[in-house]
Each structure stands twice: as C-alpha cells, then as structure tokens.
Amino acid sequence: MATIIVGYFKRLGEDLRRDWQLYLLMLPMLLWFLLFLYKPMEGLQIAFKDFSPFRGIAGSPWVGLENFRTLLDDQIFIRAFLNTITISGLGLIFAFPVPIVLAIMFNELQSELGRRFSQTIVYLPHFISVVIVAGIVINLLSPTTGVVNLILSSLGLDRVYFLTQPEWFRTVFIGSNIWKEAGFESIVYLAAIAGISPTLYESARVDGASRWQMMWRITLPCILPTIIIMLIIRIGNLVEVGFEYIILLYQPATYRTADVVSTYVYRTGLQGTQYDLATAAGLFNAVIAFALVFAANRISRKVSTTSLW
C-alpha cells in the first residue's frame, strides 16, 4: 500500500517537472473551483445549525435535520416545491421547443438581411430587465386598459383579471418568458445548425429531398445531440425558478400556483433573516436537482448515446 502511494507521488513529481507548463495553465481554473465552489460549501453547514450571523458558523449550535423537518412539515413549502416542478415542467414542454423551432425557421430564411433583422428583433427582449418586462406584462393584461382585455371585450368576451387568477399565472409566466428568452436561446441551436456540413444538404437536394424533408431528416437529427444536452441542463434546473420575475408578477391571490421554492425562501428566509432555513431549502433543491440530472443523463446515454458525462 505504502509503496503504491509513494509510487503515485513519485510519478506525480515527475509529471510536474516534465509538464509544468500544462499544470500551470490548469492552476487558475483549479483555484477558481476551490475558492468559489468548494470553499463556499463550508456554508452548507448552516442548513444543519441554528445559525446566528454574530455567532458565526462555528459558534452556532447543531440542530441536525431540524431545519429540513421544519420545511417538510410546512404545507406551504410543499406546495411551493410542487409549484416549482409544475412551472418548470410546463416550461419544459412549452418553452423548450420554441428556440429550436425559431432556430430552424431562421435557418430557412433565404435573405441574409431579413435573417439578421429578425434575429436581432427576437434577441432584444433578452436584454430587457425583468422589472420592465413585468411592467409590460402587467400593462398588457390590465383588466381596464390592457390591450389583451380590450381585444377580448371587443370580441364580446369577458374581461379577465389575469394576474389575480391562479389558473392563468402559469400561462402568463411561461408565455412571457418565452417571449423574453426564446430568441436568445435559439443562438445555441443556430450555432449547431451552422455546424452541419452543407454537403449533407446538397446531397439531399440531389437525392430529391424537399426543404421540409431536409429539415426533419437532416437539420433536426443533426442538432439532436445539442438538444439533448440542453434538455439535460434544463432538467437540472427543473427545481429552480428564478424568484425576481415571479415576485414581480405574483400576488397573494395567485400564490396557489405561483409560489415557488425561491420565493418561499425569499419571503421566509431572507426577509426574516432565517439563513439556516433558506440554506436548508437551497440544499434540498440542489440534492433533487442533482438526482434529476443524474437520472436524465443515464436515460439519455442509454437511449441516444449523447450525455453530459
């Protein structure tokens, strides 16, 4: 055993001497990982403590799984957790395909100028702050002056106070998110499409494929690995719904569908300075996210041979 270890370090020493330039190149990233990812993990202890900032992490007493028990006993937390999964799940179904479709549509555009113009137009919303987007959404959906309701009432339909109806929240949230992000997210698929060898299309043209057939039989299958990687990443974020935008859009009246883990943490943890509870909720989320990504990756590797690791 000892000889094995000695041997390992001896080899490592030789490697270091020989390839020190390579190791030097690796150093910044290694440091980055240590400082910004592994060192902060020390803070995860907070989830198992009755934490007081003044006493510090070391000075706060251990409470075991008490914080987790508090969370899982809390029906509002459970509801928030289920809401998170539902919103991300629906987002996955409805929002995930949109950038792919967009990218394919851009790719089909013949005029270079038209393509650049429309791409820029759909990228733009990404750069608008969520605060502004929420303001636009609230204005558009206003029951008295909002365009949507003006159209509804001119069609003889009832006006709907969308932002106070739990049934509508998911639609509004996911819909406006698509508007904001789909264009920007399509960039990665456009890059993937740009990587497809043009001779594949030429060959298909000679073989007699129509544009539609080329799209289905060449473009889509060729960007499938990219789609799968994006999907796995997305699944990892299934338990993650950013709280800024939700907080701007939700109302107590829509908590039933709108309250997610991050907003729960924001309300109870950060506003009430309960860092221990907030950390526990974060850790809980992370563990589930990891399990999901792991499972998704397993399945993908089996089914499609594409995987993250």
Partner: protein, 522 residues
Amino acid sequence: MRYIRDTLALLATCALLQTGSAYAEDAATKITDDPLELTIHFHFRDKYVYTEGWPVEKKAAEWTGIHVKNIASLATSNSRDAFNLLMASGNLPDIVGGDVTGGLKDDFIRYGMEGAFMPLDDLIEENAPNLKKFFDEHPIVRQAISAPDGHIYFIPYVPEGEFSRAWFIRRDWLDTLGLKVPENVDELYAVLKAFREKDPNGNGKKDEVPYFAREPIEAVRLINMWDARVSGSERYGDFMIEGGKVVHPWTTANYKTGISKVAQWFKEGLIDTEVFTRGARVREYMLGNNIGGMTHDWFASTSNYTEALKDSVPGINFAPMLPPKTVSGKRFEDSRRATVQPAGWAISYSNQHPVETIKYFDFWFSEKGRILSNWGIEGETYDMVDGKPIYKETVLHNPKPVNAQMWEIGAGVPRGYWAAYASEEQWTNKMALDGIAMYEKEPGLLQPEFTGVSMNSEERAVYDKYWPSLLTYMMEMQQTWVLGAQDVDTSWDGYVARLDQLGYAKVNEVMQAAYDRQYGKN
C-alpha cells in the same frame, strides 16, 4: 380593557408633558474635554450612511467632544445586507445602528442577548439623565424595546404624533351629486354607488373608480366599516391586542363579515378592480385622470393633490373626512403613527468607552440635541422665536421637501432620537393640519397599537417555524375572497381549520407568553 385605558391615560399625560417641554438640565453638553473618536456602522434606508460631514453631526461633535466616524460602506445598496454582513464579520465598531427593511429591533435584541451589544439599563441609570427621564415618562417605549431578559439593548428612533393616515374623498364630487359626507356604512355605500353610477366627473363615461388604494394594507381597509381591523400596527398583517390578549385581526368574526362585505363591494365595482396590482403611483393616475373617488392614505402626502392638480382637474377637492361609523355605530381610525420605530443604535460589546457613548446617545435626547436632530442648525435652517425653533422661510419655501433638506444636513435621520411633531407641523399643508385636527377632536378614534413582542429563543423558534407560512396563507385567502374566487361563508370554516393546521394556535401561544412577560399581565 383596563390595560388599554391605562395606556391611553398615559399617552394623554405624555402629550401634556411634552408640550410643557420638561427636559433635564443640559447646561454642560461637553462629554469629554479631549476629543474622542467613536466608530459607527450605520447604513439606512438602503442608500445612506452616517456621515461625519453632516452639519448637524459637526455641531454635535463640537458640543459633546465626541466624533463619530462611519465605517459602513455605500458599496451595498441594501441596508439589511450591510447590517448582516457586519454581524457575520464579528468585528463590530463602537456603535452599530441603522434603519433597514423589516426593522432592526429583533436583531438588536437577539444579538444583544447573544453578547454582541451591551445592556444599556445600568448605563442609562448612571449616566444618561435625559434618556432616563424619557423612559420614565414613556414606559410604553421602554416596554416595546425590552428584550425577553428584561434589558434594553438599543436606543430607538421615537416618532411623535398620533394620526398618520385618513380617509380622503372627492368632496367636489359629493357636491356635484348633491350628497353629503358619508356618516356611516350605509351612507358610504350609497356614496360609492353614486360615484360609480352617476358620472360625477361628467365625462359621460362610466370610468369612475369609487375606492382605490396604494398599498396592500389599504386595499382591504374598508373592512373597518364592519369593526374589523387590518393590522394592529403600521405593519401589514400584524397582530393586535384585544382585552390583553394577542389576536390576529384576520381570524376574528368581524373580519369574516368585513371581508365578505368588501368582496361584495368589489364585485359591485365600488373598489378598483386592479386594486392589488396598481402599484405606487395610483394616486397620480386616479386623481390625475379624474376617475378616483376615495382612498385611505397618508395625511401629508395625500393632501398635496388638490393643490397640485387644481389646473388639470378643475374643481378637485380631495380632502380628509372622518371615518364613517361602523355597523355597530362606532367610529375608529385603524392606523396610527408607530410609537417606536425598529431603528436606532446600540453599543457593541467591544466598545472601550461605554460611558461616553451612552452620554453621547443621551445628548440627542437633551433639549439641545432634540432641536438639533429635528430642526438642524440655528441661524441656518431655523431661528428661535418666542423660545421655540421655527424653520427659516428659505427652508419652507425651497422646492425640495423640508424633510429631504433635513436629511441632507443630518437632521431627521433614524439615529436613536426623539422626533418632534412640532417640526413636521411647520411644513405640513393646511388641509392635512385641518384634517388631523378634525381627527384629534373626535374622541376615541385612535386604536391601541401593538408595539411588538420580544421573544426568547424558544418562542422565536416556534414563531419562525410557523409564522411566515401562516401570513402567506392569510394574505392569499384575503385576496382570493376579495376577488371573488371563493365565497367567504362557505370557505371560512376551512380557513380556520387550515390556520390551525399551519400552527396558528402555537404562534398565538408564544406571542401571548412573550406579551405577558414584556407588558405585564394586568
């Protein structure tokens, strides 16, 4: 009930005393002959820090010999974060203070008991005659800031004055429609209905919004008409004291009636359909477009619209009115100024000069200090007229609001000090002053304030565990009912059961225990 009467009596006494201006002697303001520098961390209202350069602070240093040097960084734009970071660093300056979202009272008490701050009781007793006098005269303040261990760990920012908000109505619309100011619920209903249907703005469109509101706390304020309260304090959804018992206003029978009636009024279009999503500029929108009829909001700011809009909305007269009588024939005003603000300052455990520091704190409660902290510098921002500080004309007629001018020189900032209502009065407009006078004249309008409880760590654990979700659920149901998504009568029992399931009884129990300990069981 006896308690409330006592408190009221006490308050009345205080009010008398305060006009008599019975300050302790402060002939010598010098605390040390050799100038002493104390460090301070004081980040407040998310964008200011305590500043040595303030003229007010310079004057205080000149008078006391104590120079405070700020160490809080303006790099963060969140006072709560700044405070928490300081506490986490464990490296505290001589003085810690501030005014942050959610308040610092609980933090001062909690960290005080953990050893971060010095208990001030003995220091005050021995070295701070002004503070001692103030607390003796205002036992409610002392009670409100006491920790579960009985100590005081911070000196608060103490506001003065009673009424904060009022009912405002378009009196010109009443005249147009030949109606008088509503005196009770039924008349109020009739007035709002008329606003809705009889086109008081005369544009031929049915675009009037009879009742609108700016803050969440005001959206359901009309439940007052059925003797239900929105909150026991200025905090939205706070507990209240009823007959010595801690009760949440949203669990009472009156609330059930009130919220169902408000839902009814909402359905009839008497309350703004978008009342929950309007946001902060609703008064500008509703009054500027000549469509809003009535609201409940701050005296001072809401009184400005009549003057400001007189050109664009001819004839507008948006003025305070007394609260209409409730269904039981009472009249009451739900809101009031806080007795104590959860802001101020404390002495950290590592301070080497606690005596000098408490004397410095005490200075601000002296007559000189109080005038300095409210009116600023004599000869520059105010003059003494008949022994009273009066703002200079240049200050009163500056386009900038007086309070903003004061903040710039370091007056009126939330250090541990005693605000003087007299200073505010000098720059409040006539409509608001008349309104306040009208409210003051009406007996028994003011409701007792729930000044909060200081919980020990076991009580705090129970409260922290259950309360956030309880409040979430109660707010959710409140809106759900008002918007008509659920019927109050059919869902009330389920609501009560769910509250119990979510731990209402447990929270109530620890609140009561803490209350009894803090305020005495009388």
